[in-house]
């Protein structure tokens, strides 16, 4: 269809030129010392469950939280620092389910069996209570989508105030296959504007903030 391409572009190029307006100033909000508070408040407003954890203690905290829920399977990425840390702390725990093969080999497990999935976050955005996920070869995309519970571990030091700050430098550094901003569990209000969670993705989002 290169003819279509040519015709569309030549029509656009033949159109009268128009001035490109200058970008007027826009200052997105900043929170200073209140950044973490804002982040937590917005996450909770978005129906996420938030826990404050330590770098050394989070695997044990998570163990207790998941035991209390009676959770039987946790999808994790063994090739990431986070996954390695979890495997090291939990040993050969029967709940751990590694995402270590292509989706084609794991589909039934991923689609039906995994009760939870755990991922790291590249960062967080205080303004909107948003987690930035950067899926990779080691940490696949579906971990944060298919299981009914998604657990994210985010370092407090990686928080920024707003999205404009967050995207600075992304283009230069190279984009991943699928960068993701996640602000809460999957939800819908398509039926009479009534909020319902977990329509397709996770019904629950648990955030562990490492300080």
């Amino acid at each position: 269809m290169s003819d279509a391409r040519l015709r569309i572009l030549s029509r656009l190029k033949a159109a009268p030129p128009r001035p490109a307006p200058a970008l007027p100033e826009w200052v997105p909000p900043t929170y200073g010392e209140g950044r973490i508070e804002r982040f937590v408040a917005m996450l909770e407003a978005n129906h996420a469950e938030v826990h404050h954890v330590t770098a050394s203690g989070w695997p044990a905290t998570l163990d207790a939280l998941l035991a209390a829920r009676g959770l039987r399977t946790l999808l994790f990425a063994p090739g990431t620092p986070l996954g390695a840390r979890l495997a090291e702390a939990w040993g050969d725990d029967q709940r751990l389910l590694p995402y270590d093969q292509p989706v084609e080999a794991l589909k039934p497990t991923l689609v039906h069996d995994a009760e939870a999935g755990i991922t790291a976050a590249k960062g967080g955005i205080a303004e909107t209570g948003t987690l930035i996920l950067w899926p990779s070869v080691a940490e696949p995309r579906l971990m944060s989508l298919l299981p009914p519970l998604h657990i994210v571990v985010v370092e407090a030091a990686t928080l920024v105030d707003n999205l404009a700050q967050a995207v600075t430098g992304w283009a230069q550094g190279g984009m991943p296959t699928n960068a993701l901003l996640i602000s809460g569990p999957s939800k819908t209000a398509d039926i009479e504007q009534t909020l319902a969670y977990g329509v397709h993705g996770p019904k629950e989002l648990m955030v562990l903030i490492v300080t």
Binding site: Q101, L142, A179, L180
Partner: protein, 474 residues
Amino acid sequence: MEPDPDFAGRAHVALGDSKLRANFRRAMDGLMAKRKAQFPDPAAWAQLRARGAAVRARSLARLPELLEKLEAKCRANGIQVHWAETPAEGNSIVLDILKRHQARTVIKGKSMVTEEMHLNAHLEANGIEAVETDLGEYIIQLAHQAPSHIVMPCIHMNKGEIATLFEANIPGQPYTEDVDALTAAARRVLRERFAAADAGISGANFLVAETGTVVLIENEGNGRMSTTLPPLHIAVTGIEKVVESLDDVPPLLALLPRSATGQPITTYVNMISSPRREGEKDGPTEVHLVLLDNGRSRVYGDLELADTLRCIRCGACMNHCPVYTRVGGHTYNFVYPGPIGKILTPQIEGLDCAGDQPHASTLCGACAEVCPVKIPLTDILVRLRQEGVRPTSGAVKGGGANRSAVEALVWRGWRAMYASPLLYRLATRALALVGNWLPAGLPMLKEWTSVRVKPRFAAKSLHQLAKEKGIKDE
């Protein structure tokens, strides 16, 4: 109910439908209040909106260049780019890709451009099942209806209607009006469809030229499913969606969900820049981007009308429109309803087949006031009304189609009367004498007097009264 060929006829039917009126009233009141709560500070709103409008205007000013840049960047990333001048071309591009992959079932994320192309019907006619997976789209697909709102497609239905629909269409599903139970039923059915699908089709909210990225926002996760789980992903969108850089995205994302549904941000913002890379364990191995023109490049040629292309499809204009909120989306009979539809549809489809759309407005300006990218909707409505009777250029397809010889004659007479003092005086005298005897049901008066009392003409005109009081003409 008789099908009505015209907007006014359909509007009368809709106005008499108390259930429809109640469904829209409830939904629109909620959306307006939620949007308002998101922009509490008028100064901050003005600043953000000016930025958003400028981002879109700048992108459009460099549209051909940015499209070429986007294409080159996408190709370098491994995304295959296709161009379609017409919906038919777009449909066959999508069908060809699917056939090459021997795809039988396709899962779809919400996409207004594929609605514009009537893609589902085309695929089904060719033996490919297309399953809508956005909950609202899934519901209207079960009901064999078209979306009545661009953001919330089944907003015209209440939960009782949806409960009946699910009971009839989902095996083993009992009648329930419990929204959580209805949502869970859809999850159960659609999860199987996601897992078994051969391909996923989505729309796009923004295309970033700098990085070759498709930005897709959603709350449900069905967009992520459609673009991640099947081995093939086809994104379909309009050529106007491109922006220059990633830095352009934050102000638009700060405007779009807040204007649309009163959310600070959607649950998911997907930024897709390539197919599955070497060593990655999931994601489609092929990603295609189909860019649809369908009249947009013609709209682009007119400097005033081109502002239509700034639209980011938030739907705030329809939520605030006194016409849309009363008659609902189906009354418009085209894919894009409400104020944006009233200016977009005639430009895409032509004034000869959608010429009544620019008239379905009171010109109150509510749409232009809430538009996050400052589209001068009322100015464009007035311009399209003019194009309908007296085309200024070839800018709009079907220009002049609304011209009526009788109306033209009346206006010519009106002009002659107002240009000549003698004719004017004669006409006002004549009206004072016979005006009150004219029956309200006369062809020229009937439309106007059907909802108003016919005014009484004064026995003496202002000129006469002034003259009697000794006031002289200047």
